[in-house]
């Protein structure tokens, strides 16, 4: 229940904050889509519905970023990213936990120290989010520093593209290979 509430709260914030501060018509269109997807995800306990909600919110932020004259502040974008991650993590846990221990038949399960598991999983989730936020904090500053440096504007995004592609390939190669 706590995970579902966290997910809904973060989604509400992601919709409400841009609507209040920036004010945009797309928020009105995207908000119901995201909330509906989350409602279905909560009811059916399927993680991909939360992904649909996250993708629609992504679309909203892409729209806002393209629309904003001065751009969104670096920390604002990072906070939105963290909030999106909170939504997805909470949705993931909400889908993961209720499917356990229940059987269609009349089996009864007794797990020793059962209460510890959900507590530890919750703590691990908070640690994940906190850790990610802590790692992400210097990046807006770093980006500002890079842009202030004498790096030609034309080279910034091509370098980013090459780096991102290389990183994606490397990560996928390192993780997707199966070990026996």
């Amino acid at each position: 229940m706590a995970y579902v509430l966290t997910a809904w709260l973060s989604a509400a914030l992601l919709i409400a904050i841009p609507a209040l501060i920036l004010g945009d018509s797309l928020v009105v269109a995207v908000g119901p889509v995201a909330l509906l997807a989350m409602a279905v995800g909560t009811y059916r306990r399927q993680f991909h519905w939360f992904t649909v909600a996250a993708l629609s919110l992504f679309a909203e932020y892409i729209w806002l970023a393209s629309d904003a004259q001065n751009g969104i502040s670096g920390y604002g974008a990072l906070a939105a990213g963290i909030l999106l991650m909170v939504l997805l993590e909470a949705g993931y846990m909400a889908c993961l936990l209720p499917k356990t221990g229940h059987s269609r038949s009349s089996r009864q399960y007794t797990v020793s120290d059962e209460g510890k598991d959900s507590k530890r999983l919750y703590q691990a989730m908070l640690l994940r989010i906190g850790g990610t936020a802590a790692i992400g904090l210097p990046f807006p500053l770093l980006l500002t520093w890079v842009r202030r440096a004498d790096l030609p504007e034309k080279l910034f995004f091509p370098i980013l593209l090459v780096t991102a592609t290389a990183l994606a390939i490397l990560v996928y190669w390192l993780l997707a290979r199966k070990e026996d």
């Binding site: 993680f47 991909h48 970023a65 999106l84 229940h102 807006p140 842009r147």
Partner: protein, 431 residues
């Protein structure tokens, strides 16, 4: 052990890719920052690869049980290193199911911690159950990569058919067959109970001479005793077709009835055997004792439909499996023409099989609809079955119907004894 990326990783990978691509295309660095948490999470398993080692052991409370009884399985998991998330999938294979019934449990273990999972489950159907098959998956702390650990295949436990107590009076048993274990037979032979005193005939042994009577009448007289011999009870089961739904299908009911009869006669020191005929014919030779009881129960637990166009006659059965003068109790739904042939051939071989007929119409009653065409088909089917029973009775066989809802197998046998007493013709309410 094999490592696989989780669904969550794929989704985060996609989200990070979408945001970075949008940022590059639009020339907006904010979108790259928006994707940063997802990039960190995607890269995380590369920096901290998962590889938790676990040790597991399972213990099952019983290796066999009766239908309806509850058995328990205990799984013990020990983690050498910390396991942020361990997914335990309990797979239970029950008879008649093509797919295993799975239950997922999640654990989070600290280094050196041992946890126990206890599962209590009733064995709802007779047959082979696999209840101690577990699969294990460990996740890294970000739940991005999971490692599959090989579990043991699981061992089988058998659920024997449920037993019910038969209250069969001695005279009922005598009427069912010629020889019965604890009961003195009507035939003369070796025994302790005196039958009569008669004149000595050539071939009588000296130990049977009644000296007092011989001295009184001046010629040799011998004691004749009633034969005491264990009965040979052979339970014949027609496995060509199974009708109805488990756990109350035709074969389930037959197994319960046959098991109860077997227990009753084995308790009375009789020999009990089984013959199954369907596409193939298999048998268990009559024997006595507790071990035979479990052999019979094991056979009945595994009993399944074995209908085939290929059919072997019962002629191939050795005499040890079908002894002369054995009491034959045949269970059949009379769905196949070959069943009638088998029964008649048994009668022609000198046996007096007692046919316990289970109406397939009653067993399939929940499938039959109320539409006029289905009602017509049902009536026609009923008439066809009646005709088959009538033909068998005309051949001199005792046929009794077992109504599963109202009658126990004990009452059916009592009814059969009454039918035998009255010559097998006046069987009220048989169909």
């Amino acid at each position: 052990m094999s490592r696989t990326l989780s669904e969550k990783h794929r989704i985060y990978y996609l989200l990070a890719g979408v945001a970075i691509a949008a940022g590059i295309l639009m020339g907006r660095s904010e979108l790259v920052l928006l994707s940063l948490p997802f990039v960190i999470m995607v890269v995380y398993p590369v920096l901290y690869p998962a590889g938790a080692e676990i040790q597991t052991s399972t213990q099952v409370s019983e290796c066999s049980a009766f239908e309806g009884e509850t058995v328990s399985v205990t799984l013990s998991v020990e983690a050498a290193a910390a396991v942020p998330l361990l997914e335990v999938t309990h797979k239970v294979w029950t008879p008649g199911q093509v797919r295993a019934d799975s239950t997922r449990l999640l654990l989070s273990l600290r280094p050196g911690e041992t946890r126990q999972i206890d599962c209590r489950m009733p064995l709802e159907n007779r047959g082979e159950h696999v209840i101690d098959q577990f699969q294990f998956r460990t996740f890294d702390s970000a739940h991005m990569v999971w490692t599959e650990h090989e579990g043991k295949p699981g061992s089988s436990i058998y659920a024997y058919p449920k037993l019910s107590k038969l209250d069969l009076p001695g005279n009922v048993i005598r009427q069912l067959g010629r020889y019965t274990g604890s009961y003195v037979s009507q035939a003369a032979g070796e025994g302790t109970e005196l039958a009569e005193i008669r004149k000595y005939a050539y071939g009588d042994t000296a130990k049977h001479i009644n000296w007092r009577t011989s001295l009184k009448w001046g010629e040799l007289y011998v004691n004749d005793r009633l034969q005491e011999k264990n009965a040979d009870v052979v339970l014949v089961v027609d496995t060509m077709r199974d009708v109805g739904h488990r756990p109350d299908s035709y074969l389930d009911l037959v197994c319960r009835g046959a098991a109860s009869i077997a227990k009753h006669f084995l308790d009375r020191k009789d020999r009990v055997g089984i013959i199954e005929y369907g596409g193939t014919v298999s048998w268990l030779r009559p024997a006595l004792g507790k071990r035979q009881m479990y052999r019979v129960l094991g056979r009945l637990a595994k009993l399944s439909e074995s209908g085939s166009h290929a059919f072997r006659e019962l002629d191939s059965i050795p005499i040890q499996a079908l002894p002369a003068k054995a009491m034959l109790i045949v269970f059949t739904p009379l769905l196949d023409k070959r069943s009638t042939r088998v029964l008649v051939s048994l009668a022609l071989r000198g046996f007096r099989p007692l046919v316990v007929y289970l109406s397939p119409i009653e067993l399939a009653s929940d499938v039959l609809g109320d539409s006029p065409s289905e009602q017509l088909a049902s009536r026609w089917w009923k008439y066809e079955q009646r005709r088959k029973v009538r033909e068998l009775r005309r051949s001199g066989l005792t046929v009794v119907s077992w109504d599963r809802k109202t009658e126990s197998i004990g009452r059916v046998l009592t009814g059969a004894a009454a039918a035998r007493r009255s010559g097998g013709w006046q069987q009220k309410g048989v169909l």
